[in-house]
Amino acid sequence: MPGRIVSFFRNLLHKNAVEQALDDELRSSVELLSEEKMKEGLSRSEARRRALIELGGVEQVRTKVREIRVGRLLEDFAADLRFTNRTLAKSSGFTLTAIVTLALGIGANAVVFSVLNALLLRPVNVPNAHNFYLVQRFHVPPQAYPDYLDLRDRNWTFESMMAVKFVGEVGVDTGGNPSTAWPVLTSGNYFDALGIRPYLGRFFHASDEKGVNSAPYVVLSYAYWRSHFDEDRGVVGRTVEINKHPFTVVGVAPSEFRGTDLIFSPAFWIPIVDEPTVLSINSLQNRSEHNLWVMGRLKPGVTPAEAAADLNALGSWLSKTYPADDDGIKFTLGSPGLLGDALEGPTRAFMAGLMLLAGLILLAACANLGSLFAARAADRSKEVALRLALGSRHARILRQLLTEALLVSIAGGAIGLFGSVQILHALSAWNPFPDAPINIPVNPDVRTYAVALLLAVASGLLFGIVPVRQVLCADPWQMIRTGTRGTGALRRFTLRDVLLVAQIAICAVLVTSSLVAVRGLVRSLHGRYGFEPQNAIVVQSDLHMAGYANNQTAAMQRRMLDAVAAIPGVSAVGFADDLPLSIGGSDSFVYSDSATDFRPTNRAADAMNYSISPGYLRAAETRLLAGRDVTFNDDLKAPAVILVNRQFAVELFGSVDKAVGAHFKLFGGSRVEVVGVIEDGKYRTLTEDQQPAMFFPFLQNDSSNTWLVVRSKRDPSEMAAALESTLHGIDSGLPLTIAAWTEEMGFALFAARVASVALGVMGLPGAMLAITGVFGMASYVVSRRLRELGIRVALGAGKRAVLSASLGRALRLLAIGSAAGLVLGVLAARVLSHIVYQATPMDPMVLGGVVAAMLLIGLAASWIPARRALAADPLLLLREE
C-alpha cells in the first residue's frame, strides 16, 4: 500500500495544503449544489441555504473526512502530548514527586539488575562461552596438576581442557623500576582453547611446553601493557625479570580479554610449566596439592551431563589408581567466572534477594503513583465531566490519562537510568582491595537499558490504569451538579491503604536489614578472632621476589625480626607465613598417630596450617592455653614439634590437657609432637564454623612469604616509616607492603561491607518512597476534607481533634506497616547472618533505630499536611464556596 504511505507523510507534512484542498473541494461542492437549486428556480440565497443543508454542514463533513485520514492517531497523540505537557507543567509539584519516585524505583532496579546481569547472567567474556565449563572437584574448583593431565588426556567429551593457577604477587623488573604485579599461570593450550587472537605478537601454545621450566614466556594483558610499557609496540621479544628470572614477552592480549575470571584481571599470563622458576616451588608433580582451576570446552553435541559422567568414570579410575590422593574423588561441572559453586551459591541468593527488594521498591513506587494519579483524576473530575458533556469519548480521555502516566514514567525512567549508570560506572571502577587487581565489572549493557525501558513502560501502564475505573464510571451530570464525588470511599479500608501499608512494610524491612548489617559490621570490626588486629602494624614481604633461595629465607627472616625488635617503641614482633583472615591461607589433612594408610578418607582432620616465628603469638596477642611457644631451637636438627588450636586438640585428643605431649602424623607420614595449645580463632571467614588449625615453627617449615606483626604504642605512620627504613636497611630490594592489621582484614569483611552498602543504598529509596507515600495520602485526605475541617474548627474543635481527623488514618497505616516490616525484617536478618558476622536483629540499637527511623519518616511526611490542616480557616473556606 504505497499510496497510503505517501498519504501518511502528505497528511503529516503538508497538513495545511491537505486541509486547503479539502476546503476548496467542499466550497466547490456547495457552489455546484446551489447552481442546481437555482436552475430549479430558487433564489440565490435560498439555493445556498438548501445546498448547505443537503451537504450536512461544511464543518461536520470536514471533521468526518479528517477522522478517516491515516496518521490521525499520531496527530491525536501529538495533541495529547502537548496537552499533557501543559497540565503537567501546571502542577509541577505533583510532576516532580512522581518523576523522582519513579526515578528512585527504576534506578534501584537498573543497578541491581546490572550487577545480577554482570555476575550471574552474562557469561565470561570468551568466544562461545555457552559450552565453556569449570571442572570442580566435589563442589570446589581446586584440582591437582597430575589429575588435570589425566583428565585432559583421557576424556572424550571435552574439545579442550585448560588449567589456571592463581598465584600471589610477583616482583617484576622491566629494567630499573622494580614493581609487583598479579599474574596467573596457565596451561600452554590456554589461549588456543579459548579461541582468542593476540593483539600483538603471539600467544604461547601447548607445543611450547617441553617439560619443567621449558617456556620462559609471558603474555601481557592489554591494561598492563598500557600502564607499564606505554603501549610500546616493540615490546614483543623484550626480556623482563619476574622474581629475578628472565622471561621473554611474546605477545599482548586484546583489550577486551580480562582472563577467565570475572572479578580478577591478571597483569600477565605465564606458562604453568615454568612454575618452579617463578615461585621456587614445584607443585606440578604433587597429586595432593589442589591449587589449579580446570576449565574446558565441550565437544559439539556433548551435553554437560554426558561430560560429568565421563569425568566421573575417569574419577573412579583415578580413585583406584591413586588411592592415597584421589580416594573417592568426584567431579562436577560449574560455571566459570566466579569461584565456582562456592561463591556462586551465596552470590545468587544475595542478588536474588536484592532483586526482590528492588522489585518491591518499584511496586511500592507504582502503588504510590497509582494513588497520586487517582487523587489527581478525582481532582480533575470536573474537567473530565465537562469534556464528556461536550461529546469527548471515554477512550480519548483514557488515552490522554495514559499518555500522561507514560510521559511521567519515561521521564522518571530516563533520570533513574542516568543515575544508575553513574553508580554502575563508579562501582566498576571501584577497587575493593588496593593491592590486588580485583574489581567488579558491572558496566551496564543493552540488557540494562532494555530492562529499564520495559520497567518504565510497565510501571507507567500499571499506575496509569488505577484511575481508569474512576473515569469510566464518571457521570458528567452528577459531577457538574455537585462538583465532587461522594466521600463515602474515604471511610472504607481501600486498596490504596493496603498498597500504602505494603510500601511502608517494605521500607521498614529495608531499614531493619540495613541497620542489622551495619551493626554486625561494626561489631565484627571490634570482635575477637583469636588475635587482636587493633593497634598492630603488619608488614608483608615475599623473599622470593627479592631473589632469596629456599635455604636462605630463614636466616633472612631472623635478621628482619632482630632488626624490627631493635626499633624503639616496638613491644612485640613476630611473623607468620600467612595471617588469619587475609586472602591467603592453606589447609591440609592430618592423621592419627597410628595411621599407616594416608588416603583422604582416613584423615583425622583437615587443619589450617601456618608457619610462625617465636614471638608471633605475643605480637598477635593470641593466648597460649597450655604447653609452650615455638623457639629458635625448634629447627631441623631438633625433633619436629607443632602448636595446635583448641579445636584441633579437642578433635584429635579429646581435650587441651591431653594434647600437650601427644603425637599425630602429617600427610606423608612424618610424625610431630604437640608442644602447645593456643586459643581458637577465625581463619578464612568471620562466619565460618570453628576450624582446627596448626602452627609450625618456621625453622622446621620454611616459607618465603613473610607477614611481620609489629605491636607498638607509637604513632602508626611514624612506626610505618621506621619499619620501612629499617627493613630496607637490611635489603633495599625487599618489596614491602605496610598496613594496619585492621586494613588487611578487608577481604574477610568484604562480603559484610558489600551487604551493608547494598542494603543501605536500597534502604534510602525505600525510606523516601515511604515518605512520599504517607505524604501523598495525608495531603490528599487533608485537601479532600478541608471544608469539613473548617466546619469543625468553626464548631470549636481543638488542634488535637483537627490533627487526628486529618492525619490519624495515615499515621495508623504507618504504624501497621512499620510493625509488619519490623517482623519481616527480623526474619530476613536470619539470612543476613550467613553473610555478616554477628548480624542479629535482637539488639536494642537495631530495634530502637528502626522505630526511630519510622517515626522520623512519619514526622517528615506529615509535617506539611499537618500545617495545612491546622491552617484551615472556616471563613476563608466559606468565602471560597
Binding site: 467542499l26 461542492s29 455546484l32 468526518k64 477522522e67
Partner: protein
C-alpha cells in the same frame, strides 16, 4: 450504532462509488447524483459519508483526483478510477453477487 450494519453499509457505499465512477470521472456532487440515478432513487447518499469514503479510497489508491472545469465552467475536483480501483470494483462486484446468492438462498429456504 450497531457495527455490523455500518460495515455492511460502508462496503455497499464503496461499491456504489466505484460503480458510479466506472463510466466517467465525476466530482463529489456528480457521484451523489449518479448513485441516486443508478439505484433508481433508492439511495440518497449523504455527503457526510460520501466525502470520507472518497478520501479513504483516494488514500488507498483506488481513485485519483484532479481539478478541472465543470460543465458550467466551475472549478471542481473530479475523481477517476485507477487500475487498482477497477480491480477492486471487479472484486467487490463478485463478492456482492456471492453474498446476494447466499442470502437469497438462505431467505428462500423453507
Amino acid at each position: 450504532m450497531r457495527p455490523q450494519r455500518t460495515d455492511l453499509l460502508r462496503g455497499t457505499l464503496d461499491l456504489l462509488i466505484l460503480k458510479a465512477l466506472h463510466l466517467e470521472p465525476l466530482h463529489g456532487v456528480g457521484i451523489s447524483r449518479r448513485i441516486t440515478q443508478i439505484t433508481r432513487d433508492a439511495f440518497q447518499v449523504s455527503f457526510g459519508s460520501l466525502f470520507p469514503s472518497l478520501h479513504r479510497m483516494e488514500e488507498k489508491g483506488w481513485v485519483e483526483a484532479e481539478w478541472r472545469a465543470s460543465e458550467n465552467n466551475r472549478r471542481a475536483k473530479y475523481y477517476r478510477l485507477t487500475a487498482s480501483g477497477r480491480a477492486q470494483l471487479k472484486a467487490e462486484e463478485r463478492e456482492w453477487n456471492q453474498v446476494v446468492k447466499i442470502m437469497t438462498a438462505a431467505v428462500e429456504s423453507a
